[in-house]
Amino acid sequence: MSFSKIKFDKKIVLSFWIILIALIIAAPTLLPVFRLNLLGRYLSLSIVALGVDLIWGYTGLLSLGQGIFFALGGYCAAMYLQITSSSEFPNNIPEFFALYGVEKLPFFWEPFRSPFFTFFAIWIIPALVAGLIGFLVFRNRIKGVYFSILTQASLLVFFNFFNGQQKLINGTNGLKTDVTQLFGQMVGSESMQRIFFWITSILVIAAWFFAKWVVKGRFGNILIGIRDDEPRVRFTGYNPVIFKTIIFSIAGGLAGISGALYTVQSGIVSPQFMTVPFSIEMVIWVAVGGRGTLLGAILGAVFINYAKSLVSEALPASWMFIQGGLFILVVTALPEGVLGWIQGDGPRNLLQRFGLKRKIETYPSLEVNNNEGNNE
């Protein structure tokens, strides 16, 4: 099993971009509002998937707690929207506070009056929380399964905290954003949703380029080194703790942006964002799309979620079986994910099986290398 970083053909890359940009421009006219909104949501989920790919696909850190950072970003956005739309409610604070007899805004809400603060809080707060959790875990050299369990435990801690704090953040009900105002417009309105779709599309591409920039070159090679042989990286003079903390923090920041975009498009943020299955789903998107491919993470998140909504409409309750089956299929038949399979030797092996391509006699890598560079 190899996580190859095989380069795509230039023509494929170019045609991919043309199709992608055309689709983004055309989507609002092609799709009914309901579908457009769904696509926007799934695109926002692909940003959290990019983060999962960075930490898992490249660095080997299987986090089952990305929901924490996703939800934190969502809460930051929702708090801003609620507080700026609360002028008609008692005490000029969000409506739900009245239900619990709270008359004064809790202190941590105050900075969210500022759009400027919120803009940064959406990604910096999740990144800082991720950095802190990551540093403590990595410094103690907690790895592998123990890391996964620890992140899942942290997720449950956050879930229980947010779920129980009615007086602070409306507990299990979460914070609604669709009836709030942004720049004088209703967030849930059609025109705003279209704008959010554009913003999301642009941010997905930006996040993708950012992730590519992070993993290209020597920094990315160290991440791969940490994934494949961490002690060796140490003995070469690098401190893996710092690298892992940075990448975990980046993934947390991406999750925050993702959560904020998802929240404004789904109309609510609630502790449901921090349930165990949801964070595991994020890992499945990346596993199916292809670990260590970045693009695979985006495609995995969008396609699986779209399939989920289509299947759920046609055959309610059957989605869980399909998702489970898909995961088993990928783990057993395509361990590198769909995109990893396409980029690797997968298509050639398939064609060979049907006699459509010449069989390779020796190790594929040897023959391919010789064919490419005959100058030896």
Binding site: F3, G217, F219, R234, F235, G237, Y238, S365, E376
Partner: protein
């Protein structure tokens, strides 16, 4: 043979004891290395050869004793800090990054400073690129620059790891079984390479292969049951009765 400090010494191991739940992997081991020295370390299985390297590189903390390198104590320092002080290590089975290319492997080793900011921000320095080219020529991998390290043959992997070690520019090179699985010809080339590195560098070679050790033509330390049994040239240790008993075996008849 007690650890006597000498300012020409690069490394002093003083009364190193490592106990794994009562089992003494190293038992009051003393060893001194001069600057520029080439030293072979041999010993039967379980003599503590790898633990000895683990102690120097910070992987294992000695239960007792002191490791002095360039006048500084290494005990309690983290692995990457020790590596940055100038201790490089080649592992027993080749440990290279198989999913990276030959060049990327060498980049990891020659890059300084080894901080995230330097790596993400700046492109590699020209002198480091030159160094990579020089290393690839030395170990005959110049034509494999962009091949995945995982696709190399076993011998090439061993050599790549040696090149990575050299690229790190350590003052002390610890080389664990560099010729395991190599052909005779490759073994000879490796011996010559290591000999050429000593002088400027201080090199410790651990191996089982007596022919190879003989070819290194260096001082030999024989380890047995976690302690240094005997030290000297190959001729001296071959005549040493204790060494013959535990390791070399008596010649027949």
């Amino acid at each position: 043979m007690r650890g006597t400090m000498n300012n020409k010494d690069l490394l002093n191991l003083i009364d190193i004891t490592v106990s794994f739940e009562g089992f003494l992997a190293l038992n009051k081991l003393n060893l001194n290395l001069k600057k520029g020295e080439l030293r072979a370390v041999i010993g039967p299985n379980g003599a503590g050869k790898t633990t000895f390297l683990d102690v120097i590189t910070g992987k294992v903390k000695p239960t007792k004793g002191e490791v002095i390198f360039k006048g500084k104590s290494l005990v309690g320092r983290k692995e990457h800090k020790i590596a940055r002080l100038g201790v490089g290590r080649k592992f027993q089975s080749p440990r290279i990054f198989e999913n990276l290319t030959v060049k990327e492997n060498l980049e990891i080793s020659v890059t300084t400073p080894k901080s995230p900011l330097n790596l993400i921000n700046k492109s590699i320095k020209d002198e480091q690129l030159n160094e990579i080219e020089r290393l690839m020529k030395i170990v005959n991998l110049a034509q494999k620059v962009d091949s995945k390290a995982g696709s190399l043959s076993h011998g090439q992997k061993q050599w790549l790891e040696i090149a990575m070690l050299v690229g790190q520019k350590p003052d002390l090179m610890l080389v664990d079984e560099p010729v395991a699985g190599l052909t005779d010809e490759e073994t000879d080339l490796t011996a010559d390479l290591l000999k050429s590195l000593s002088g400027e560098n201080t090199v410790v070679v651990i191996d089982h292969d007596m022919e190879f050790i003989r070819r290194l033509d260096s001082n030999v330390s024989v380890l047995n049951q976690g302690t240094v049994l005997c030290e000297g040239t190959m001729e001296t240790i071959q005549k040493d009765k204790k060494v013959i008993d535990v390791y070399l075996g008596r010649p027949e008849n």
